[in-house]
Amino acid sequence: MKKTDNKAIKKTGLGAKASRRIDNTVVYIVLILISLIWLFPLFGLILESFKVEYQGQTGYLWPQQFGFDNYIRLFKETDFFKWFINTGIMGVCTAVLQTIFVLSMSYVLSRLRFKGRKGLMNAMLVLGMFPGFLTMILIYKVFSDLGLVLEMAPVGLIIVYCASSGMGYYVSKGFFDTIPKSLDEAARVDGATRFQVFYKVIMPLAKPIVIYTILMGFMAPWGDFMLASYLIHQNSAGMNVAVGMFEWLSKTMVNSHYTMFCAAGVVVAIPVTTVFLCLQKYYVEGVTGGAVKG
């Protein structure tokens, strides 16, 4: 009697372990599959960018002939370099300005209490529900009077990206909310003005969110197609990479520009991805913190 009992216990024990091992094997297989699917476009992009034999779509992945032809053409025959510089400049400027706007907005809404604060937040919530790009009709008109379109579009776009960026205060406000209020109070009792509280106490503690905001600001111009297309209007000198490269895949151009698009895609993806992966930690903090706080 006793013996069989022991055996039974042993068996189930082993069984649980084994079943977990099987479980984990299944999970690993799924994860590898997922990774392949998610990495496929990236690998495809890189591989096809080295394809020399044909400049359009070939319907197969592996190049028959490897070479840097597409990259050379990219910089020699097109304005890509100009677009790249444009976008880079926009990225840096947007990162700086947007950070100032967003941080001051979110700091005030999170830490200071004043008349009309709730109303202000509600108003911004409601404003955010308008399809914002409709404002571009007017902004285009005004900017074209001011000369901030076409080849000067990057300047106009920096303004557009930054001006209303205060409305995107949610994530960083969520972060500020987690810093205990008693720190502010202690500093104020210690003799600090509100301004000193801001830059001597809160800012040093807000490093993760500052980096997150800078990262977001830097990335925005690289991915923006919609707003940019309003101000640029086919003017090559003022294009960002998105608008510039978009045309290459149109029905008329795809057969001569497809592989070049891939090459350009690789060139664009490298700096952005590098910056992003280096600062990944802060991005993850921002995303998770923001979601938890709502």
């Binding site: 967003v102 399809p131 404002t135 197609f225 490269m245 992003f276 998770t288």
Partner: protein
């Protein structure tokens, strides 16, 4: 409806509980709108009361004030000067001078105001039509510029805002006179300019910090939105662009087009596109949500190694600018793309589609919509995965331990602990992500623009051809960008409608969501 008390509620069986909750929800909707109405009514009443109080306060100030205060009813800041607030006085006075100057100079405020013809049906915005006139010098017709309606309306609007600001400032400086009067009556000292400057880094610090971002929002969001709303009542389109042809006020005339349900009618187009937009947003949000959570749980499962690697692989796709990855992926599914070709070679494209010469998945309404949702999973999962990972780590481990002791395992733990916790924490995010998906321009436009599939039911609406996969936002985008056919007035009417849809949806969802009502439940 009768509310059950807690004990009675607990007596109900599962089905009864569900029914009860559903009933509660349904009954909450009218109550919600009633409360909304009451709130709006209260706000109006409060505003009226505020005006009344203001008037009596102004009257009091005028009657009791000394000569300087009385004078400052005409000359801004005089009261401030009298009470020693030089800085404020100068600012007020400066504002008045600038305002009056702006209003009376040639082509200043008064000039623009006279040209707008506010809301007079049929009247043009601007009064002088530009035209070709014979010019003796050149011996040919040349263009003599008239008014530009766009500018007239803009400057008119700016002037109105300026006037409102002027009235407000007038009221403010009278209020300050009153405050100064009260303070000196008590024998105390009023704030000096130095105090004012000092308070800008202290108790008024929010004003300093907000000035820049708020100015940006006012100029680049609020003002253009008001402008767009005005445009909805005009005939502003490519033919009446305001410069070569003045546009005019038409009142609600264009709103009638919303009722046009014939082919190419706005009503039909709006209905169909809205239906697909809502469907898209629903599927895009929930597929991402559940699958993303699933992936997060897989990665965070106990005993799985290389967690960081799996995460990084997914996060990498966030880093690549969307237009690169999306455009590339769209091409993969093309008839000559790698995957598209594979599907053809392996005979995976249904015969019906082949017969219709639709070689690519993009060329069929249903398959292209499904493909969009599937590809959107590729785009969205990494975000959700990251967020869910953060939340998973926040779930107190003792919840799992105690549930294990209570006998729960695997699926039970997931459905009774993980899922409710996630739902609670991510509720607000789900709402924002739903709204974002309603307006998800990038995914739709970049994936489909080079493979347009015209919606044959609608054809052309609002001056642009409508695609099967168009969302309201891409439709609007085309309507405003394509300069030859642009119907700006229609774009702004639809923009207003989009706003109404989004606002109503979010308000309802926001009000029934548990996380906004019981904030402390899971803390």
């Amino acid at each position: 409806m009768k509310r059950l008390n807690d004990l009675d509620y607990l007596k109900l069986n599962k089905f009864g509980k569900l029914l009860y909750k559903l009933k509660l929800f349904l009954f909450a909707i009218p109550v919600f709108f009633k409360n909304l109405g009451l709130k709006i009514f209260g706000a109006i009443k409060g505003f009226g009361l505020g005006i009344k109080n203001s008037v009596s306060d102004i009257a009091y100030t005028f009657v009791k004030g000394n000569w300087a205060v009385k004078l400052s009813f005409l000359i801004f800041g005089f009261g401030n000067f009298y009470y020693g607030q030089i800085l404020r006085g100068i600012l007020f006075l400066l504002f008045e001078v600038v305002f009056i100057g702006y209003m009376i100079v040639p082509s200043g405020g008064a000039y623009w105001l006279s040209k707008v013809n506010w809301f007079q049906n049929g009247a043009t915005v601007g009064t002088v039509q530009g035209e070709f006139k014979y010019n003796e010098l050149y011996d040919t017709d040349i263009w003599v510029a008239g008014d530009d309606s766009v500018k007239v309306l803009l400057y008119g609007l700016l002037t109105v805002i300026f006037i409102i600001a002027f009235v407000y400032t007038w009221r403010m400086q009278i209020k300050q006179c009153r405050i100064c009067m009260d303070i000196t009556a008590k024998g105390k000292k009023v704030k000096s300019g130095k105090d004012d400057l000092r308070s800008l880094v202290d108790d008024q610090f929010h004003k300093t910090m907000l000035s820049l971002p708020l100015a940006g929002i006012l100029i680049f969001t609020v003002l253009p939105i008001i402008y767009m709303v005005l445009i909805a009542f005009t005939s502003y389109d490519a033919a009446h662009d305001g410069y070569s042809n003045l546009f005019s006020w038409v009142g609600l005339e264009h709103f009638n087009e919303l009722l046009d349900f014939g082919k190419g009618g706005i009503g039909l187009a709006f209905g169909e596109i809205l239906a697909w937009t809502l469907m898209w947003a629903f599927f895009a949000t929930f597929t991402n949500y559940f699958l993303g959570m699933f992936v997060a749980i897989l990665i965070n499962k106990k005993g799985i190694r290389l967690k960081k690697l799996w995460r990084t692989v997914l996060v990498m796709t966030i880093a690549i600018p969307q237009f690169v990855s999306l455009l590339y992926v769209a091409k993969l599914f093309d008839s000559s793309g790698i995957i598209g070709k594979l599907l053809l070679d392996w005979n995976l494209i249904p015969d019906s589609m082949l017969a219709a010469k639709q070689f690519s998945l993009w060329q069929n309404p249903i398959s292209s919509k499904i493909l969009l949702i599937v590809l959107n999973i590729w785009v969205g999962i990494p975000h959700i995965m990251l967020m869910a990972t953060g939340i998973l780590m926040n779930i107190p481990q003792d919840l799992y331990e105690s549930s294990r002791i209570d006998g729960a395992t695997g699926w039970k733990q997931y459905s009774k602990i993980t899922l409710p916790y996630m739902m609670f924490v991510m509720g607000p995010y789900l709402l924002t992500s739903f709204v974002n998906n309603l307006n998800n321009f990038n995914v739709i436009y970049l994936l489909t623009q080079n493979n347009q599939l015209i919606n044959t039911d609608i054809g052309t609406a609002g001056g642009v051809s409508v695609c099967e996969t168009d969302l309201l936002i891409t439709w609007l985008y085309k309507m405003t960008l394509n300069s030859a056919e642009s119907k700006y007035y229609m774009a702004s009417i639809i923009g207003i409608l989009v706003f109404v849809v989004v606002a109503v949806l979010s308000l309802i969802v926001y009000n029934v969501m548990p996380s906004t009502r019981n904030e402390e439940d899971y803390k």
